[in-house]
């Protein structure tokens, strides 16, 4: 049985068929005595070779579970997992043509960077010298030749990340998995490593799936986003599509939009929560309406003769700095988030509890069918 799987994995590794990843991952976890709630992950993923897909979602959404299921570190309750046409759901992790870059890299602390990278080829049967030669080539390719003899604790976060990537790539995986690849890095390193990682992922010819809760990482690194919430896929699409047409509060918040759901009748949308909204698009039926926080203007007194037809009476719930702007979280008729300049905030004399009028021009809103 193991031999069969080994052969299957071998075949997959050799890439006889190049039709990428086709999986339905169902993982169930009952309530645990320790207090963990019951959880069910059910996601369907199809990814073409050369494509980079990001699983994006809040903590606890099941992204990492999906990744572990793909790697074989967690058994599927049901579903299937085919990679390049080969069924892998019963294949143990060591026989899957899958490479993983773990969140905190998990570089073996007792081995040098070179031996970490050579570990995979060694396990695949290469001689020590051949494995090391391959590892050296990978390190060289990732610009780490100078650090080949360094132990992981001597490496910076960015270097460790690249060693982890080299280690995963050195096994020639047909599926590369990256778990929060940039989460362990500080902000400055992150910028640089993100750009490098994007290049390496673009070069990678097989399937790449990465997991992240950072929308920027997802949008920069991936060709396609799959948004997972509570174990289910809530939205899928290109980064720009998702950024423009969020379908859940979580995504709207991620991409920084005010998002509402309602019923459209021409240019007017009756929101599910009550208020009316005038939009540019003329639609009928259930729709989403979104507008960015900087499209909102605030007034202490009801504006007269304003061209804005969307006007609501709100109360300031909270204020925070957001870049070089002030972000006001408003409650009331229509809960929304507004961005304004520091000067404007001072002139308006905003403070939590202050009453304001919020106006949004119809041209700044964007409505799209559910």
């Amino acid at each position: 049985m193991t031999g069969n799987h080994g052969a299957a994995a071998e075949e997959a590794r050799a890439g006889f068929r190049a039709d990428g990843l086709d999986a339905r991952l169902v993982v169930e976890r009952g309530t645990r005595p320790g207090g963990g709630a019951a959880f069910r992950l059910d996601v369907t993923l199809t990814v073409a070779p050369g494509e980079v897909v990001a699983l994006l979602g809040p903590n606890g959404a099941g992204k990492t579970t999906a990744l572990r299921a793909l790697a074989g570190l967690m058994p599927l309750t049901e579903g299937h997992l085919r990679l390049d046409g080969v069924a892998l759901e019963r294949t143990p992790p060591e026989s899957r043509p899958v490479g993983v870059v773990f969140q905190d890299y998990l570089l073996f602390p007792h081995l040098t960077a070179l031996d970490n990278v050579a570990f995979g080829p060694r396990c695949q049967g290469a001689s020590k010298a051949a494995a090391r030669a391959q590892a050296a080539a990978w390190l060289d390719r990732l610009g780490l030749a100078a650090h080949a003899d360094a132990k992981p604790r001597k490496l910076s976060g960015g270097q460790a990340q690249r060693v982890a990537l080299a280690r995963a790539l050195a096994t020639h995986p047909r599926l590369l998995l990256l778990d929060e690849p940039l989460a362990a890095l500080d902000a400055r390193t992150r910028l640089e490593v993100r750009a490098q990682l994007r290049r390496h992922l673009a070069d990678f010819e097989a399937v790449a799936v990465l997991v992240t809760h950072d929308p920027l990482d997802a949008m920069v690194l991936a060709d396609r986003l799959v948004v997972v919430e509570e174990g289910r896929i809530v939205q899928e699409g290109s980064p720009s599509d998702i950024a423009r047409h969020p379908r859940t509060d979580y995504i709207a918040q991620l991409v920084g939009l005010n998002l509402y759901r309602g019923k459209a009748d021409g240019h007017t949308v009756r929101l599910d929560t009550g208020p009316l909204l005038t939009t540019t698009e003329a639609l009928t039926g259930p729709v989403y309406v979104a507008f960015p926080p900087n499209a909102v203007t605030l007034h202490r007194d009801r504006p007269t003769g304003s061209s804005a037809r969307n006007l609501w009476r709100c109360e300031v719930g909270g204020l925070e700095t957001h870049g070089d702007q002030i972000r006001a979280v408003l409650t009331g008729e229509l809960p929304l988030v507004a961005d304004l300049t520091t000067v404007a905030a001072a002139e308006l004399d905003l403070y939590p509890g202050a009453e304001v009028w919020a106006a949004v021009k119809a041209t700044q809103t964007h409505a799209y069918p559910v």
Binding site: L106, P109, C123, Q124
Partner: protein, 285 residues
């Protein structure tokens, strides 16, 4: 969930802090009901050692230690303790791995059984070994009739008796280290194509090496001092099964000065072991 969280969960740290606070006391005195028993306890532990040193016949010591029997016993002790440690390592590390990494029904019971020799009086262990491996024992009779192997009252029997009492120390120490070690390194190895055994050999074993070393020293020290199981199972034959503790006991009956000299040697070995372990346990204070 980071490796440092797990590996660095040194129980000593918290205790360190707490002890330090008591010691500095913030200007408050230590209550007598605590101080007096504490000092009595300390004296209770130290006075016998002081007695040993005070009563040591330092002038005749070289002569006493020069006797061939002393070195024979010491040599036998060192060889047997080392062999028992080797046996413990060969079977104990895999046993610890099984207990730490594999979930199987009755694991708790197995762990309890493994620790049983820790609390079992060694003499009882010796009797049990006789019943199992003695010439008429449930296993021993087959060893004798099939392979002609006799364990009781042989040097090999000493090793068996010592391994029996030392093994639990090693298993517990290694299992603790394994539990503290991040199992995700093994997962990482698996995603790189390593079988479970390869992952154990090339990743886990090097990572837990310090814990194995500490467990081995502990097991070795326990084996070196073994008396009850050894004398019951292996007897007391000079040159063959008479280890240092047995020699000390025997000498005490006939030549107390010799007993003191022998004890001093064992004390020196014990202190050397303690010194070797100071980073791990002694310094935790």
């Amino acid at each position: 969930m980071t490796p440092t969280d797990k590996a660095g969960a040194a129980p000593g740290t918290l205790r360190d802090g707490r002890r330090l606070r008591i010691r500095t006391g913030d200007g408050r005195g230590v209550p007598l009901p605590l101080l007096l028993p504490a000092l009595a306890g300390l004296a209770f532990l130290l006075v016998p050692l002081a007695g040993l040193l005070v009563r040591t016949p330092w002038h005749s010591l070289p002569g006493l230690l020069a006797g061939a029997q002393v070195w024979q016993a010491l040599q036998l002790s060192l060889i047997c303790a080392t062999a028992a440690t080797a046996v413990s390592l060969v079977v104990g590390v895999p046993l610890a791995w099984l207990l730490a990494r594999v979930e199987f029904p009755g694991r708790g019971l197995v762990r309890a059984l493994v620790t049983l020799p820790l609390v079992l009086p060694p003499v009882v262990g010796g009797v049990a070994l006789l019943m199992a491996l003695g010439r008429n024992g449930i296993v021993g009779q087959w060893l004798d009739s099939w392979f002609g192997i006799t364990l009781p009252f042989t040097t090999a029997g000493v090793v068996v008796a010592e391994a029996f009492v030392a093994l639990p120390f090693l298993v517990i120490s290694v299992e603790g280290t394994l539990r503290a070690a991040d199992p995700r390194y093994e997962e990482a190895a698996a995603t790189l194509g390593a079988s479970r055994f390869t992952a154990f050999r090339r990743v886990t074993l090097p990572l837990i090496a310090p814990g194995i070393a500490a467990g081995a020293v502990l097991a070795w020290a326990r084996a070196l001092g073994e008396f009850g199981a050894t004398i019951t199972f292996a007897g007391n034959f000079p040159g063959r099964t008479q280890t240092m503790p047995l020699a000390v006991y025997l000498a005490l009956q006939s030549d107390p000065e010799a007993a003191i000299a022998l004890s001093l040697v064992l004390l020196a070995v014990s202190i050397a072991v303690l010194a070797a372990l100071r980073d791990r346990w002694v310094a935790a204070g």
